[in-house]
């Protein structure tokens, strides 16, 4: 029997442990379920959903870079209607909080998506993506504008009682101001960080390695940036933070929690070792036992500056 309490709280949502799977790295759960017992996880965040299906960007969408990768998927997704009809039935079979990530091109689309999805009881919370670097409309044009982030939070808050997590962009000078705008307008938490804008060229053809020219950088290369952003928010805003950025093992999870994260999301690692999230949960427990921590939540923002 477990002697360690791994549970954490994100607003009114209690997670059995801090390990969530990041949006865009788990599809709609079915492939991941072959490698990791989804019932063990803290939560799953779906691929970004938009009101209508999105085809996404043309290839090449992905390139590896030192200790990371660039992606420009372009929010390819099945849309809200198909998600509810075809993807939810599979996810319903699991006893794991389902968080829907929503990405939209207009304020109205965010509201419309949330209104429809909030009716589905399987969905326990929303993560609002205002920070995708790979789409022309919406995405970063919202995420870089503090008034847009405030307005979207406020409008989405008005149509759901479920917890709202605003997913913030690291491509700003002061992320804490964005977290504050989210909090002041009714968000229950923020997740940080989305990917960093990056680019890579083929030096022989002089063409960009991905078709979209720029993409979002993820993987261990961005971890120190993510830790710094989490810390910045933690020191300035009293709001739960979900840390994201280059987590490769349990040590990284602990580091994110110490820096101020209440929970974390595993992303790029799922592509490399889709069985890792389950193993990390066991290792977190071992760590807590080893250092005599009874509640993992006591690690949150436990930094000694």
């Amino acid at each position: 029997m477990s002697t360690v309490d791994l549970s954490v709280k994100i607003g009114s949502l209690t997670l059995r442990n801090p390990i969530m799977l990041a949006s865009g790295t788990v599809g709609y759960g079915n492939e991941m379920a072959e490698f990791t017992d989804l019932n063990k996880l803290g939560a799953i965040v779906t691929k970004s959903l938009s009101l209508k299906p999105r085809k996404g960007n043309p290839p090449q969408r992905i390139v590896e870079t030192p200790a990371g990768m660039l992606n420009a998927i372009g929010l390819a997704n099945v849309g809200v209607e198909v998600f509810l009809k075809e993807k939810i039935p599979f996810l319903k079979k699991f006893d794991v909080p389902l968080i829907c990530n929503i990405a939209a091109s207009t304020f109205e689309e965010y509201v419309e998506c949330t209104k429809i999805l909030t009716e589905e009881e399987t969905i326990k919370a929303f993560e609002i993506n205002v920070s995708c670097p790979n789409v022309r409309e919406g995405g970063l044009s919202f995420g870089n504008n503090i008034n847009s982030v405030a307005t979207i939070t406020e409008k989405v808050r008005a149509v759901t009682n479920k917890p709202i997590i605003m997913k913030l962009s690291p491509n700003v000078s002061y992320i804490a101001e964005f977290a504050k705008a989210a909090k002041d307008n009714g968000a229950d938490a923020v997740s940080a960080i989305n990917t960093l804008v990056g680019a890579a060229f083929n030096i022989f053809t002089r063409k960009p390695k991905i078709q979209n020219v720029t993409g979002g950088l993820s993987g261990p290369a961005i971890k120190p940036v993510a830790i710094a952003k989490v810390l910045e928010i933690s020191r300035q805003v009293d709001l739960p933070i979900i840390g994201i950025g280059g987590i490769m093992d349990w040590r990284d999870v602990i580091e994110f929690m110490i820096a101020g994260s209440s929970a974390v999301q595993i992303g790029t690692l799922n592509f490399i070792d889709p069985s890792a999230p389950g193993k990390i949960i066991t290792q977190l427990e071992d760590y807590c036992i080893k250092i005599g921590v009874e509640n993992i939540s006591s690690l949150i923002a436990s930094y000694q500056l």
Partner: protein, 253 residues
């Protein structure tokens, strides 16, 4: 699909830049189909970070063979793995070739390292169908005929076999090919596949093609490997999950 550690038994250099890995893995050999692929984590470290995809080259009893050339850091590490060390393999992935069907002769068409999946295809078809292999490359060093049958060679520079590309070689043999019920199985560079598609549409050949695209995961979650469908224009197919083998008519090459 699953993740498994399987021991590397041998590295065979088949010419100065093409390598074969011999891996002991009854778990995989018992289920893997020709045209499927495996995703290998070449390093525990963060660079190279992503797994590397390799099409299955051949299966012999409990052993499987992978063919590759050294393209960068990842394949270089793989070519120098200690014998006996375990390879971290995720697979089997993708759909594979459909070798069944009402045809008499299988025509294998490959360019360069596109020959990699065909030793296993040849093994599975042996004794069941006639096999003709049309294998091309830029120079004689790039024409890979390892474990293939009834090979006709083509090289761009004429250093081996027919001077020209492999589709021109097919056209040269058109009458012989048209006289029987055939199915083409193809893999190779995009430029080759483009002209092959024109050839197949023009002369009415059925063709399955194995495609390639940069990908992060290999099993559908990263959405990194889209390929345009000729049937449904409002969404992409994924090379890793819907492919890598497609009817050549169904995809934009």
């Amino acid at each position: 699909m699953f993740i498994i550690n399987s021991p590397l038994e041998k590295i065979i250099e088949i010419n100065n830049h093409i390598y074969l890995l011999k891996i002991f893995s009854p778990e995989l050999t018992s289920i893997i189909k020709p045209g499927q692929f495996l995703n290998i984590r070449v390093s525990e470290r963060v660079f190279p970070l992503l797994r590397r995809p390799f099409s299955i080259c051949d299966v012999d009893g409990d052993h499987l063979y992978l063919m590759f050339n050294i393209m960068g850091e990842g394949t270089s590490i793989l070519a120098h793995k200690p014998i006996g060390s375990n390879l971290d393999i995720l697979g089997p992935l993708g759909n594979g070739f459909n070798l069944d069907g009402n045809y008499e002769t299988a025509i294998i068409v490959a360019g360069g390292l596109g020959a990699a999946p065909f030793p296993y295809v040849t093994r599975m078809l042996n004794g069941k169908k006639n096999i003709l292999s049309f294998i091309g490359g830029r120079t004689r060093d790039d024409v890979i005929t390892y474990n293939l049958k009834n090979v006709k060679e083509a090289s761009d520079d004429g250093s081996l076999g027919f001077k020209g590309n492999v589709v021109q070689l097919l056209e040269k043999n058109l009458e012989q090919l048209k006289s029987q019920k055939t199915k083409i199985f193809a893999c190779g560079p995009t430029v080759m596949l483009k002209v092959l598609k024109e050839f197949c549409l023009k002369f009415g050949f059925e063709c399955e093609v194995s495609t390639e695209c940069a990908m992060a995961c290999g099993f559908g979650i990263c959405q990194g490997c889209p390929i345009e469908s000729t049937i449904q224009s409002d969404k992409y197919l994924l090379v890793c999950k819907d492919g890598p083998v497609f009817n050549i008519k169904d995809v934009v090459i």
